[in-house]
């Protein structure tokens, strides 16, 4: 494993050991360039937790987690399982190692499974045997794209992809997205350097502005508080909202398909 992978670098930042020297080296270099990156990452993962809890609380029992990464801690089925252990979750990732690992540890759980696919190949995801087996197509589903879409440049038509997923969802379903981004001129110097390093060693990223982010939710009604910087989305406690929250380099939102 010579090259760093998105999933394993991310795992390292979360405090996991599902990674190799190359992943750790890349992760550390980015952290050196931008020490606050760690909290940025943790905050994103916390958004996932809050979003899943919210979705479970409104009755969602089917989750499609696109770009789910290496199952570390606080995975969707664990968070949602606290509310209802029979919740069904399908994880999708393109990283073969992440998927092999996920399958190994999920083997025993009949309600959870993992698919290896490029999420842009919407047909092979939506028509996968796993989804057919686990999901009730008439029941609302939550599709999660957490820290995923910033790996897709506009040329690959991520908006079209999201629309395809949207069109496949029954009414009452939800879309949750978190995405790296900021308004133009806002990018902190350290972030810029960290991103350069990351792009060189791991993969290119496409940061988007708030307006660009909003377009992913075409055809959805945003739930409260709408589209915000990630820490500001339904924080658990006021203590979690630091002064820097308003300048957090990423947007989050949850929308409901009417």
């Amino acid at each position: 494993m010579e090259r760093a992978s998105v999933a394993r670098v991310y795992d390292y930042w979360l405090g996991g050991a599902h990674n190799f020297a190359a992943d750790r080296a890349a992760a550390r270099q980015a952290l050196e360039a931008m020490p606050e990156l760690k909290s940025v990452i943790l905050t994103n993962r916390a958004f996932l937790r809050r979003a899943v809890r919210y979705l479970a609380s409104v009755g969602i029992r089917q989750f499609l987690d696109l770009g789910s990464g290496i199952p570390t801690v606080g995975n969707v089925h664990e968070v949602a399982g606290q509310v209802d252990p029979t919740t069904r979750v399908v994880y999708v990732d393109i990283d073969p190692v992440a998927v092999a690992h996920g399958r190994a540890i999920l083997a025993e759980d009949p309600n959870v499974t993992m698919v290896r696919a490029d999420v842009r190949d919407t047909a092979s995801v939506l028509e996968s045997a796993e989804i057919r087996k686990l999901f009730d197509p008439t029941e609302p589903v939550a599709v999660l794209m957490i820290a995923l879409l910033h790996f897709m440049p506009d040329e690959t038509d991520p908006y079209g992809m999201v629309a395809t997923y949207r069109d496949s969802m029954p009414s009452g379903s939800y879309l949750a997205v978190s995405h790296a981004g900021f308004e133009s001129g806002e990018e902190p110097f350290g972030w810029r350097r960290a991103r350069d390093l990351y792009e060189r060693q791991v993969t290119p990223m496409t940061n988007r502005t708030g307006a660009e982010f909003a377009r992913f939710f075409e055809g959805f009604d945003l739930v409260e508080p709408g589209q915000v910087r990630i820490p500001l989305w339904r924080p658990d406690s006021p203590d979690d909202v630091e002064e820097t929250a308003a300048r957090y380099p990423g947007f989050g939102a949850v929308g409901r398909k009417p």
Binding site: A17, L42, E78, G81, P96, V97, H101, D239
Partner: protein
Amino acid sequence: MTDRTFHSVSPSATGLDPAVLAGAESFARSWATAVIGSSYVPMTRAEVADHLRALTELLVGALYTNPFRTAPGYDIGTRLVEAHFTSTDTLGRTVQLLGDDLLTALGLAGDERMRSRLAALQGALAAGYSRALRERTLAEQEAIRAAVLDARDQAETALRASEARFRAMFTEAAIGIGIAAIDGTILDVNQSLQDMLGYTVEEMRARNVRDLMHPEDAASVWRLYDQLIRGECDHYRAEKRFNRADGEQVWTHLTLSLVRDDHGEPQYQVAMIEDVTDRHLLQNRLRFQALHDPLTGLPNRALFLERLGKAFNVRSPRARVGLCYLDLDGFKVINDSLGHDIGDQLLIEVGRRLDSSVAGEGRLVARMGGDEFVILVEGSAGTQDIVEVADRVLRTLEGPVRIGGHELSISASIGIVERAVAGTTAAEQMRDADITLYWAKADGKSRWALYDPERNAREVARFTLSATMPAALERDEFYVDYQPLVRLEDSTVVGVEALVRWQHPEFGRLAPDRFIELAEETGLIVPLGRWVLRKACEQARRWLVEFGDSAPFVSVNLAVRQSRDPELVRDVRRILDECELPPTHLQLELTESAIMGTADEPLEALRSLSDMGVRIAIDDFGTGYSNLAYLRHLPVHELKVAGSFMEGLRAADGADPVDAQIVATLVQLAHALDLTVTAEGVETPAQAERLRRIGCDAGQGWFFARPGPPEDIDRLLHGD
């Protein structure tokens, strides 16, 4: 992640003093603040605080418990890792915070015993934490390594499966597949291709793609090949022939594709080759059958027309094409009398002779159907070329043909058209060849005729005339002019010849020589003649009424066909009746041949007419082979001597003694038979005078008057 439950410690189990609990709670809060954010813990801030408060209570409980044990410290370290406080910062901060703040928070700052107990617990916590973290790290590392192997296995299995599939596809494919390097070195060929070309893989590998060139390959095949090799195109299809190892040929559909490497550089070429030999041969046979005459094996009409069309596609202004359109003379008779079988044999032999005598580069002999053949000469240099061909054909057919005991003499008629391609079409040339063949037949058969545009124009005009004549009769385009017959003795007008004219809307005024013959051919002469007769009789009646005894008779021409019309007598009688004209005022003019060469019936008719009182005249007398002896038996009253004799009587001195002698003899003869004589074509006073002296009864011609409307005659009769 294997667990679905949280490891929180129940605070109620400790049973501690409330003040101590409050201290523990405050410590837990600072603890939470110190460790939150070091690694991802799937809990809310409040949950983290709860969790740490429970751990603090456990720790405080351990401080107070006797006998003192360090195990809870170890346990707490383990639980921190279990909650995923995996960042080693957590341990550092925790140990430091415990040392700095815990005893103070509990109000035990100066208690040495507690201090040493705490130190022991700190040590145990660090040990428990380290151990748990080490185990967790090792487990995760092992898991991820296993996942890597798994993933690799899966990828390899998938790759092997797909390779096996492709290999099977390659080897089992019914289509021939070959792979070659860009320099043309053949790398691999599948079984189908080996079978198709008859070479083994090893033999093929020893060859280069370019060795597979076939002399019949279209230039485009190898042009496209070069483009593909240069990376300018990614695939192409072509029809291509290959030579098999056994010397046979294989016809194929070839698809050649370029395989590029990751940088887009040409890497391999892949050929897919489908054997279409059977299809090709079948197509050839079907095509041959469609384009050849099954009887003679010669090209048929379709192939001929195709080739002719191609010859006309040559865009050069000098290109010429010659056609011989040939038809056997009297073939129908042979066929009808000797049977179709003999007829067919004859056609085969004719086809063979034609083919062997004219075949050659640029020449095509085809059977058009029936006994019609055609010879196409492409790129002829001029008429002479094709006339030679036609002569050769006539010669080659001269020798008798022996079939089934019969010795048949045959001949053919040929229409020849030879012309420059420019400005004409294949269809025109065919049509003209057909017309010319008809001329050759009409001119007497066993010959060729050369297309003559003027002759064609004349025939077209004739055709147009004869086609429009019936309508013209109905539309009153015909009218009658009259020319007087003058008694030479006293210059009185004794008779008037009725001459029909056609005022044609397109060709203008037409004299009878332009259309009477046509009318005879088409049969229209009968109604036309009847019409003229009626017109003339009506006019004669008018003169009779006006001039009484001195009114002239009308002389009307009777065509051969009319003279044989069984209705003739009845028609004449009816018309005379209807016009109230006495028969003596009508004369009918017939040519010598019409009267002499006839059978009995028409003669009968003439007799009836003559008996009726109608005068009968022989027109143009002296031009045919008159049977003078027979003359006396005919119901004839007058001879009209042909104008051609008048030439010799032109001038008094320059007269031709022979002509004069003939006319004199004719007059004598006529008078001996009690016939009157009228000389036609009298043009000069000298002629008139000589005729008078000879004793000729009457004259007709320009000297007296030209043919004109009846009013001209009126004026003459009035003596103006």
